[in-house]
């Protein structure tokens, strides 16, 4: 389907990768430039409409097949659908699309009947397929499975529009516009949806400096965390006269709790390619690297297909669209190191070395990969670029706050009703994201904190939930924009435990080069472990020592921030500092009362058996891994606290619910 020849109007069109046409994109998305032919014009518009899946004559079934969809069972759903189609001889086409972002409702199956609007059905696991297809093909829409229908003039009454769902209504989907909607690897579909128009416009109308200026004017800032002005960065490399320059797209997405980049590459890889091409043109790079997490096999697969298609179409490679601009894109798989999000570490990693950061200056824009000027941009940053060029800087900076323009994609997860991928305009409040878009907290629990910015970020307390998504505002409360992980935590979350979790992550992921980060984060973790461990166990920890620990924690954190070599180290204490700042009472309870109110710090928990409820079934003692539960059949059991490791295995298996935690 996605063949260049299918895209052409007639044999007059000579564009190919070896002999590219300057007007290729204009021509196929509008009307032929090199020849005047009404039929061709008609043919092209029909093709574009078809590629947008408008007026399809056959049934189209879209299945959300991103990693989260597959995790929820989309693979089996697809098998069931094809089986149904084959067995019932239905004239239908199955299209695997990316993740539209509403993970909780996966697997998502959209069905577009000829002449009807496209309807999304939620949670269609394999066993539901036959029933669903039976009824939809029979003209009956099972409303209980409906998520919503797409906007079109063919919309069906009585079915909610997707765009009117609270989840979608409050989003501004620019970067995510195509994801979950189009076939991610079909280049023709991307082109039909305004794809490569930004690149085409760039090559036709602007000098590299003008592109840098436009991006600078747009106010686009790095979406990977730091928030440096992208245009400014590009100018730095642009102005260098070096013959070889490089562009690196950082798609390593190390933040545990973020999956924006994965979804973007899986769901719309051509957008990234177009963004890379424009950026490379702007800085004068002829080679670009995409540093992609090895844990993202589907993203790797889709990006590989997309690159080879783009080459085939003459949209990558040499003399792109006859402009004289050349670009090769190479995929490098990250091998699992959070620190490689740091620019100099990433460069070392691509060069085949240990991903240890280097002192700056020299900055990568001056002396980067293989010693050449190098610009490193994050996936989301680059994905913003094509639309900025297409619609102009003004269009982009019309939304957002004073210093943060455009939109930001967040990966919403944790204790929230709707987990998934959302894109909001800058300036949206966290409150809106959690409650209006994410549907609030499940199980009637209350919200405790929102963690934003991953291991380098901080926790936002409920009292300041109205804080806006804005680089500067978030910093004032001890958090940071980060790459976009947004983890919601309910009342059952222990903030000391969360601080411990991040410190553990950071100290394991520290590259080990500079002393404050290597040794300091480890000691910080130990201090946290100390205050959340049972005072009676092993070495006795005096009250004073526990108290001292907290004092050291702050002072140590300051030195780590002040002296670490790279951003990872400098921001390493943030999760601890932010929880100390907003949840100091929880620390107090841990230190002074030796209690974990959220019942998460295992060492501080005391498991007990309620004699009035225990029926002596022995199942708890059988499941106890440390042989801490004593008792005979049909007699009351009790727990030997010295042996108990607080694993909660007994709690999970006790049928009469006789076991409780103090």
């Amino acid at each position: 389907m996605a063949d260049l020849k299918n895209l052409k109007c007639c044999n007059e069109c000579w564009h190919n990768k070896d002999n590219p046409c300057f007007h290729f994109i204009d021509c196929i998305t509008g009307k032929p430039v090199c020849h005047n032919d009404v039929d061709c014009e008609f043919e092209q518009s029909k093709k574009m409409s078809q590629l947008k899946n408008e007026n399809s004559e056959i049934i189209i079934i879209f299945v959300g097949s991103g990693t989260c969809g597959l995790g929820a069972g989309a693979g089996k759903t697809i098998k069931a659908i094809s089986k149904y189609i084959n067995e019932n001889d239905v004239d239908a086409r199955i299209v695997e699309v990316g993740c539209i972002g509403i993970c909780t409702e996966e697997p998502l199956v959209d069905i577009q009947m000829p002449g009807k609007s496209r309807i999304s059905f939620k949670k269609i696991t394999e066993e539901k397929v036959n029933l669903l297809l039976d009824s939809v093909f029979g003209g009956d829409i099972p409303i209980e499975h409906v998520l919503g229908q797409y906007n079109s003039r063919l919309s069906i009454d009585g079915i909610p529009l997707l765009s009117e769902l609270s989840f979608f209504m409050h989003q501004t989907r620019w970067v995510l516009e195509n994801i979950g909607i189009i076939n991610p690897v079909n280049i023709n579909e991307y082109i039909a949806n305004n794809g490569f128009m930004g690149l085409s416009k760039t090559l036709q109308n602007y000098t590299p400096i003008e592109i840098c200026n436009q991006i600078l004017d747009s106010g686009l800032r790095g979406r990977g965390g730091g928030g440096f002005l992208t245009g400014k960065k590009w100018h730095m490399a642009q102005s260098s006269s070096a013959e070889q320059k490089y562009l690196i797209c950082n798609a390593d997405e190390g933040d545990p709790g973020a999956f924006m980049d994965r979804a973007l590459i899986e769901g719309d890889p051509y957008k990234l390619i177009e963004g890379i091409a424009i950026a490379a043109y702007a800085i004068g790079a002829s080679k670009a690297y995409v540093y992609l997490r090895a844990e993202y096999p589907l993203a790797i697969k889709n990006l590989k297909i997309a690159i080879s298609k783009a080459i085939e179409y003459g949209l990558l490679g040499s003399n792109i669209l006859d402009s004289g601009f050349n670009l090769d894109i190479v995929i490098k798989m990250g091998a699992g190191a959070f620190v490689c999000g740091e620019e100099t570490a990433l460069i070392n990693s691509i060069e085949g070395k240990r991903g240890m950061p280097k002192p700056r200056p020299p900055f990568p824009a001056v002396k980067g990969l293989f010693g050449k000027p190098t610009i490193i941009n994050n996936v989301e940053t680059l994905a913003n670029v094509p639309k900025i060029i297409l619609n102009g800087a003004k269009w982009f900076n019309s939304i957002g706050t004073e210093t943060s323009k455009g939109t930001k994609v967040f990966a919403l997860s944790g204790n929230i009703n709707i987990t998934g991928l959302v894109e909001v305009s800058m300036g949206t409040s966290i409150d809106d994201i959690v409650y209006t878009i994410g549907g609030g907290i499940p199980n009637n629990k209350s919200l405790k904190a929102v963690q934003i910015g991953g291991p380098s970020g901080g926790c936002i307390h409920t009292s300041i939930l109205d804080i806006e998504v804005d680089y500067e505002s978030l910093k004032t409360v001890g958090a940071m924009m980060g790459s976009g992980g947004l983890v919601v935590m309910d009342e059952d979350t222990c903030m000391v435990d969360i601080a411990k979790f991040f410190m553990d992550f950071i100290q394991r992921e520290s590259c080990g080069k500079c002393i404050p980060c290597r040794e300091g984060t480890r000691r910080m973790l130990e201090i946290l472990e100390k205050i959340s461990s049972k005072p009676s166990k092993g070495k006795s920890i005096s009250q004073l020592e526990r108290f001292h620990s907290i004092l050291h924690l702050k002072s140590l954190a300051e030195v780590i921030q002040d002296t670490s070599l790279c951003g990872l180290g400098k921001s390493a204490p943030n999760p601890v500092l932010s929880t100390l700042r907003w949840f100091s009472d929880e620390y107090d309870v841990h230190v002074y009362e030796k209690r974990c109110p959220a019942k998460k710090c295992k060492d501080l928990l005391v498991y007990q058996i309620d004699n009035t409820k225990c029926n002596g079934c022995t199942i708890c003692s059988k499941n106890c891994p440390s042989d801490a539960i004593l008792g005979e059949l049909k007699h009351h059991h009790y727990i030997n606290q010295d042996k108990c490791i607080g694993c909660s295995a007994c709690l999970d298996v006790c049928k009469p619910k006789a076991i409780f935690v103090n």
Binding site: E295, S349, K353, G414, T419, G454, D652
Partner: protein, 156 residues
């Protein structure tokens, strides 16, 4: 031992830049990076074995022992943590009687802790030989292990 020649020949250019891709492809083929392969890569690139070992031990991805028949990756991302993945990990280690990074004696299972699998919406997540399992509770995990064991027996 399957020959690495094919992989090495894919990178005829002896540049250090190719080191990590080489290690990745070799691990893909064998399931782990052996001492012999490191020496082999060393003479191909050429690069001292100490440097290759240094690089390989830096990154989470590389393992130096054969993985189990069922390689279980458990996600320890933030979302999974909030949703209780530490209990899942404890449970898994208890059940298989191995620690993360190890392989069971019978070579059946191995556990690997992964920083984030990027499927936070489905937390807690594990992946068995690349296949994702969502919303994994201790109970669900026991079921998965049971199925895997049964499957293996079924295969004889």
């Amino acid at each position: 031992m399957i020959s690495n020649e094919k992989i090495l020949n894919k990178y005829p250019d002896p540049r250090r830049e190719n080191l990590i891709p080489l290690l990745q492809e070799i691990q893909e083929l064998h399931g782990y990076v052996s001492r012999e392969t490191i020496i082999e890569i060393g003479s191909h690139l050429p690069l001292p074995a100490s440097k290759i070992y240094g690089v390989a031990t830096f990154y989470n991805q590389f393992r130096f022992n054969p993985p189990g028949k069922y390689h279980i990756q458990i996600c320890r991302g933030t979302a999974c943590h909030v949703k209780g993945s530490s209990n899942v990990l404890d449970m898994l280690q208890r059940e298989l009687k191995i620690k993360a990074g190890e392989t069971t004696r019978d070579g059946m299972f191995s556990i690997e802790v992964v920083a984030c699998l990027g499927a936070c919406g489905l937390a807690p997540v594990i992946s068995v030989n690349g296949e994702f399992h969502a919303d994994v509770s201790s109970k669900k995990l026991q079921l998965i292990l049971k199925q895997l064991r049964a499957k293996d027996k079924g295969n004889g």
